[in-house]
């Protein structure tokens, strides 16, 4: 049972990641390779708030979300004026810079040694979120809130405006929409919610190091999103389920761990190729990436 709960917590972390990224990739057609960097920033900021400031859960979460979204502005402001491949390259640059900082700023991040012993967050006073079940409930509450908020955003005039940008940016400008401002808002909101995943991951695993937030992780998040499907709520949820449950299924085949890891990568790659060819909108998405 504990194993199942552990998987659900991981799935919840990835649902928040994919759902937040969907606002950018699925609704606004902005393919970003910097998602893991924002995920990492959220995690490290949460650790800072918990271990240095000794803040409880809600201030820690808010601090992590606000500062991550402000830092994302550094990326959004110059790069959202770029289009297509140039934007992808700008986000790749951001990802590499953040990883390099996390890896080499040893006095703050402990670099490759990582930060162990991250304390459990306190709800109020001395009530701690501790143990598998407590993290299960916390992750479930956060997922429900995030999915609810994004459902409302997608079906709001804001979501419709983002879909308009995705379909035809020129036409949106001709209808009086400030396309750059809308993209920046989407980027900042997406980043703020990605920080929640960082918080959950750091506090649940109680250890973080930069390798959890590298370019591979960004590609992994993007793959989960594309496999699940873009542009709606179902797709990102299904994507998170697939990428977490698929490697677990391989465990039961009886392959050694070293082989299973490689097979998993091959299966992800094959799944992407097959989907791009036969179902470019993903398993449950309603928009095919352009």
């Amino acid at each position: 049972m504990e194993y199942v709960i552990h998987l659900i917590i991981l799935i919840n972390i990835y649902i928040i990641l994919t759902t937040s990224s969907n606002l950018l990739v699925g609704l606004t057609n902005l393919l970003s390779l910097g998602q893991a960097a924002l995920y990492g920033i959220g995690a490290y900021l949460s650790v800072l708030a918990l271990m240095v400031f000794h803040w409880p859960l809600i201030p820690t979460l808010l601090f992590s979300m606000i500062i991550t979204s402000l830092l994302s502005l550094l990326l959004a402001w110059p790069s959202l004026r770029l289009k297509g491949d140039y934007f992808v390259l700008a986000t790749l640059g951001f990802q590499l810079i953040v990883f390099t900082i996390l890896y080499n700023w040893v006095s703050v991040t402990r670099g490759p040694y990582g930060i162990p012993g991250i304390p459990n967050p306190k709800l109020f006073g001395d009530i701690e979120i501790s143990g598998l079940w407590a993290f299960f409930v916390l992750s479930l509450v956060l997922v429900v809130v995030v999915v609810f908020l994004f459902h409302n955003l997608i079906h709001s005039p804001f979501g419709r405006a983002l879909k308009g940008i995705r379909d035809d940016e020129l036409s949106m400008q001709a209808l009086g929409k400030n396309v750059t401002a809308l993209k920046i808002q989407a980027f900042v909101i997406s980043s703020a919610f990605i920080a929640i995943s960082g918080f959950l991951y750091a506090t649940y695993v109680s250890y973080i190091d930069p390798t959890s937030f590298n370019l591979d992780e960004s590609i992994f998040i993007l793959s989960a999103l594309i496999v699940g499907g873009l542009g709606n709520i179902r797709g990102p949820v299904i994507g998170a389920l697939v990428v977490i449950l698929l490697p677990e299924a391989l465990r039961f085949i009886g392959l050694p761990d070293s082989v299973a890891a490689n097979i998993r990568q091959i299966i992800y790659g094959l799944a992407l190729i097959v989907l791009m060819r036969f179902r470019p909108q993903g398993i449950a998405g309603n928009y095919a990436i352009k």
């Binding site: 005039p157 804001f158 879909k163 308009g164 036409s171 400008q173 009086g176 929409k177």
Partner: protein, 279 residues
Amino acid sequence: MQSSKMGDILTIQSLSKGFSRQVKNSAGEDIDEQYWVIHQLFLNVPRGKVIALIGGNGAGKTTLFNIISGFIMPDSGSILYKPDGKNLELSGMSPHLITRAGIGRMFQDNHIFREMSVLDNMLVADSAYLAERPFRSLLFRNKNRKEENCRLAKAMDIFENLFVVDNPFLEKRKQPAGNLSYGQQRLLGLARLFMRNYELLLLDEPTAGVNPEVIEQIKQLILNFIKNNQTVLLIEHNLEVVKDIADFCCYMENGRIALMGTPEDVIGNEEVQKSYMGL
């Protein structure tokens, strides 16, 4: 051009836009040459009228529209827009601010949102910029819902009253707009412009590639704009349409207005017939 009693809504003076291109000189060497797409163009657009722009390919008609709507910066000259007694210089303004100032644009190609429903194509064209703020979408859901219902009623009203005969939009309103026929997409592009009160509309070949029945519907829609005291600047190659609905006609050649007057005068002009229609 003769101005209407209510004055001009747009005054363009000495407008120029050029590009440099490489050509070979007599010695066979590559040299840069300035090529003027728009050159010293003057135009007064009277309020509440339909003004047709005609001219051959490369005459500068679409470039002129792109400059007026802010998608291309002019090299020199002035574009003075005068809605409601105000004077706005459009050169250097962003496209979205020009639209918000009351200038609507229909492109030559069908720039509809193909993945969105027909109805959403209408709703997104509304001027509800406040409602599109994300925090408002999240925090004031009831207020937003009420406003959305108003927009919905407005869009349905446009569908019901604009297309009395052969109305495809009521039935297909929930379908993706990309499923509509080409002619229906042109009509949707025009219907979208009724979602807000533009003062000036720039329509780039609205009747291109559509059947005679749809051309009639498009003509009626353009006349509807005029009934609302809106002004229409129209690029049109179908001279029958120009004769039927335009109050004035401008013939463009080499980036300037070469001739202007009533449609009959301009289309009947010997020089225009020779160089544009090849008669």
